[in-house]
Chain length 342, copies 3
C-alpha cells in the first residue's frame, strides 16, 4: 500500500510541509524509519529521535514541526492522526464473504451473506450474524446470540447463548463472553448453584482483549457500554456495568454487581470488590485494591513500589509494629504533658 | 415454564402465604419483578425494595414475611431455596443425546449413548464419557481422560490426557485442565524441562470457571475435592490439593504443592506461595499474599485499600522511612530515660 | 518403559552404587516409591524421607549418597539428572506424522511431511510448519505464521498471523500468541484504535503456559528470547522484550514496551509498569509492583504478607495516619531541642 503525502494531508486535514508527490508505504518508529516510512511524534520523550529520523514523513504537532529535519504532517492530535493513517497503510486482513467448508451453521441461524465464518467455527440455533461481520476460526457463537454489523471476532472466541454484541466491536482470541457468573448459595457447609439467567450486552465500538472473560448476569444483564476498551485477561463478574469509553489495562478483576462510570481509566491488575459504584472520570493506578465506592473523580492508588527485598522485609516488620510505636509516642507525649488523641 | 405457588410450596417445603393457584414463570429482582415473576430477599440491604416489589411471590425468611406486601414462600434459607426454584423456572439448556456430525470420536473412545458431543469437539483414544454428559462445542478431551455421568463441559474446554472428572461437575468455557506444571531444573544458567507425569483428579459437584487453568501433577496428582467452586481465571499449580467445598473468587493464583483445607473461602486475586498448608475453615480477603502456612481458622488479610494517589504517595514515602522514625523515637526515649527495646 | 540402573549410569554420567542389572520403570516421590521406581533428592527438606524410601534407586548428590538406604545414582545436579531420566521413563506422547481428517490446511500452507496436525486444527495461507512439529487439536495457526522444527503446540493454541516460533518451543493449551496490543489514541473522550502491525518473535527452547497471552508489537516486534519459560495466565504486552532464560511464575502482567534482561526470575502475580527496563539477573518476589526501572541485579519485593484481618485493619489505619505520627514526633523533638529534618 502506497500513498502520497498530498493525499494524506487532504484526507486527514493536516498541514503538509514537504513534497505532496512523495509517497510512503508503511509505518515505522522514528529510530528505524526509512524514506518509505511514516513515523509520528506524540510523546515528547522521543523528541531527540525526531532530530535524527530518516522517515519519509513524520506526523507531529506544531511544536514538533519546527524540530523535524524531514517532511511533516501537522496535526492537532498526532497520535490519533497516526492511528488513522496507519489503518490506511496497514488495513486489517480482508475476508471474502462466505462460510468456510469446515464451519457449522445451525439450520435456524441467520448469517448475513456479506459475513465471513472461519474454519471450525460454529453458529448456534437462532443466532444472528450481521453484515460484513468476521467470525474467526474456532469461534463458538451459541444459540440466540446476536452479533451486529462489522463485528470482528478473532480466533477461538466464545459468545455464549443470548449474548448481544454491538456494531464494529472487536474481540481478541480466546475471550469468553457470557460464561455463568459465580453464584452459589451456602447451605450446610456446601454450595448450591444459582442459575445465571441474565445475558451479556455489549455496545458498539468496544474492544475486548485476549482471554478476557465476561460473565452473564445472574438475573438481569451484564452491560458493557459503547466504546469501552478492555485489555487481555480481564475478569468481569456478573451484573457489572461499565460506562462508555472506560478503558482497563490487562489483568483487572471486577467483582460482581460493580458499576463503573464513563471515561474511567483502570490500571493493570487492579482489583475491585463487589457491589461498589465508581463514578465517571476516575483513574485507578495499577495493582490497587478498590474496596469502597468512589464518588469523586480523581486518581486513586494503593500499589506498593518494589524496593530491595532486605529493606522491604524491615519495612513490613515496622508496619506490623506500628501500634507499638504509636503507644510509645503517646507515652512520651504524656510524660511531656503534651497528650493528644490519635 | 410456569409453576403454581402451591406446587412450589410443596416441592421445596416452604410455608406459602398467598393463593396456591397463582403462577410464576420466571425470576426477577425485587425492583424489576412483575406479577409473573418470583423474587427473593436474602440480603437485608434490599429490605426496602421488598416493601415496594410487585413480584408474584417472594422467597423470604420469617422476618421478611412480615415486611412483604406480596405473597411469600417462607424458607429457612431463602437464597438456597431461590436457587433451587430458579433451576426449575430456568432449566439449563437441554441437549439431545448424540454426537454432532463435525465432532471427532477416536476409535477406542467410549461415549455413553445418552451423552452429547458438540460441534468440532474431539474425544481422544481410550477416553470415557459418562451418561448424560455434555461435551460442548470445540472441547478437546484427550487420550485416556475419564468424564463421569452428568458432567457439563461448556464450549472450548481442554481436558488433557488422563484427567479424571467427577459426576455433575460443570466446567465453564476456555478452562484448561491438565496442562503441564511449571517444572524446570536450573543448569548452567538455563532450564531443563521436568516431565509432568501426574494427573488432575477432580471430584463430584465441582464448578470450574472460564479460562481457569489447573496443572497436572509433577509426579503424583493435582486433586480438587468434591464440591469445590473455582471462579474464572484462577491458576492452580501442580500437586495442589483443594479440600471439599472450598470456594475461590476470580484471579486467584495458587502456587505448586499447596494444600488447602475444606470449606475455605479465598477472595479475588489472592496469591498463595508454594509448598504451604492452609487449614480448614480459613477465609482470605481479596488481593492478599499468603506466604506462610495458616494453622488457625479465621480471616486473614493484607490487601491495601485505595486512597487518593497524592495521599498514597506520602504514606508510601513514610513507610519507607519508618526505620528512621523508629530511631528518632528511640533516641527521644533515651533522652527521657525511658528506653524500650523494640 | 524399563531401564537398567547400569544403562542410566552410563547414559547420564552418574556414579552408580547398586546392582547395574536392577531395573526401574517409572518415577515416584521418595515417600511413595516402590522397588520399580526411580526417585530423587534435590531439596534437603526431604532428607528424612530419603532414609525411609523404598525406591529402586534414588538420584542424589554425594552428600545424599551416604544417607540413602537404597541404590543411588550420584549426580552433580540431581534435579537436572532426574529431569533427563524422567523424560526417558515417561516420554512425551508420540504422534504419527500426518494431518487429521478434520484438520484444515490452506492451499498455500507448507506442512512438513514429518509434522502432525491434530483434530479441528487449521493452518492458514502461507503458514509454515517445521519437521516433527506437533500442532494439537483445535489449534489455529494463522496466515504467514512460521513454526520451526520440533515445536509442540498443545490443544487450542492460537498463533496469530506472521508470528515466528523457534525450534523445540512448547506452548501449553489455550495460549494466545500475537493478539493485538492495547493501543488506542484518546480523542475527544473516546478512543481510536491504533493498528498493531508488529509481530511476535519467539526463540528456541521456550515454554509458554496455559492461557498465557502475548501481544504482537505495535510497530516493531514483541520478542521472547531463547530458553525463556513463562508459566500459566501471564500477560505480555506489545513491544516487550524478554531476555534469554528468564523465567516467570503464573499470573504475571508485563505492560507494553518493557525490556527484561536475561536470567531474571519473576515471581507469581508480579505487575510491571510500562516502558521500564529491568537488567539481567534480577529476581522479583511474588505480588510485587515494579514501577521504576531496575539497573542493579538483586532481589526486589513489595508484597505484603497476610496477617489476621483484625490486626491488618489496625495496621492499615496506622499507615494512613503516619503523617500525623511523624508530626507529633517532630513536635516532641522540637520541645526537647532535638529538631531533625525528616
Amino acid at each position: 500500500m502506497s500513498v502520497s503525502l498530498g493525499e494524506l494531508a487532504v484526507r486527514f486535514g493536516c498541514e503538509l510541509r514537504g513534497d505532496p508527490d512523495a509517497r510512503v508505504e508503511h509505518v515505522a518508529t522514528l529510530a528505524r524509519a526509512g524514506p518509505t516510512a511514516l513515523a509520528f511524534l506524540a510523546n515528547p520523550k522521543y523528541r531527540r529521535e525526531l532530530g535524527e529520523t530518516r522517515a519519509g514523513v513524520v506526523v507531529v504537532d506544531t511544536a514538533g514541526a519546527e524540530a523535524s529535519p524531514r517532511p511533516v504532517l501537522i496535526a492537532a492530535n498526532p497520535y490519533a492522526t497516526y492511528a488513522r493513517i496507519a489503518a490506511v497503510l496497514h488495513p486489517a486482513p480482508a475476508f471474502a464473504a462466505g462460510v468456510h467448508p469446515t464451519a457449522w451453521i445451525a439450520p435456524l441461524a441467520q448469517v448475513a451473506v456479506s459475513a465471513y465464518v472461519g474454519a471450525h467455527a460454529s453458529i448456534g440455533e437462532g443466532a444472528r450474524i450481521g453484515a460484513r461481520a468476521v467470525i474467526g476460526p474456532g469461534c463458538v457463537v451459541e444459540d440466540g446470540a446476536e452479533i451486529a454489523d462489522d463485528v470482528r471476532l478473532a480466533a477461538r472466541v466464545v459468545v455464549a447463548r443470548g449474548t448481544r454484541i454491538g456494531a464494529r466491536t472487536i474481540i481478541q482470541p480466546g475471550a469468553v463472553i457470557g460464561s455463568d457468573g459465580f453464584g452459589f448459595a451456602p447451605e450446610r457447609g456446601a454450595w448450591i448453584k444459582v442459575p445465571q439467567v441474565g445475558r451479556v450486552v455489549i455496545g458498539a465500538d468496544v474492544e475486548i482483549g485476549a482471554n478476557t472473560t465476561i460473565d452473564r448476569g445472574a438475573i438481569e444483564d451484564t452491560v458493557i457500554e459503547d466504546g469501552v476498551k478492555l485489555d487481555n485477561q480481564i475478569q468481569i463478574g456478573h451484573n457489572v456495568r461499565i460506562g462508555a469509553h472506560t478503558a482497563m489495562a490487562a489483568c483487572v478483576g471486577v467483582s460482581g454487581s460493580v458499576t463503573i462510570g464513563k471515561r474511567c481509566q483502570i490500571g493493570g491488575a487492579v482489583g475491585i470488590v463487589g457491589h461498589l459504584t465508581i463514578c465517571d472520570d476516575v483513574a485507578v493506578t495499577g495493582l490497587t485494591m478498590v474496596n469502597h465506592s468512589i464518588t469523586t473523580p480523581g486518581v486513586y492508588s494503593s500499589g506498593l513500589p518494589a524496593i530491595p527485598a532486605h529493606d522491604w522485609r524491615r519495612a513490613v516488620a515496622r508496619l506490623h509494629r506500628l501500634d507499638r510505636m504509636a503507644g510509645r509516642l503517646a507515652s512520651l507525649e504524656k510524660q511531656l504533658g503534651k497528650e493528644q488523641d490519635d
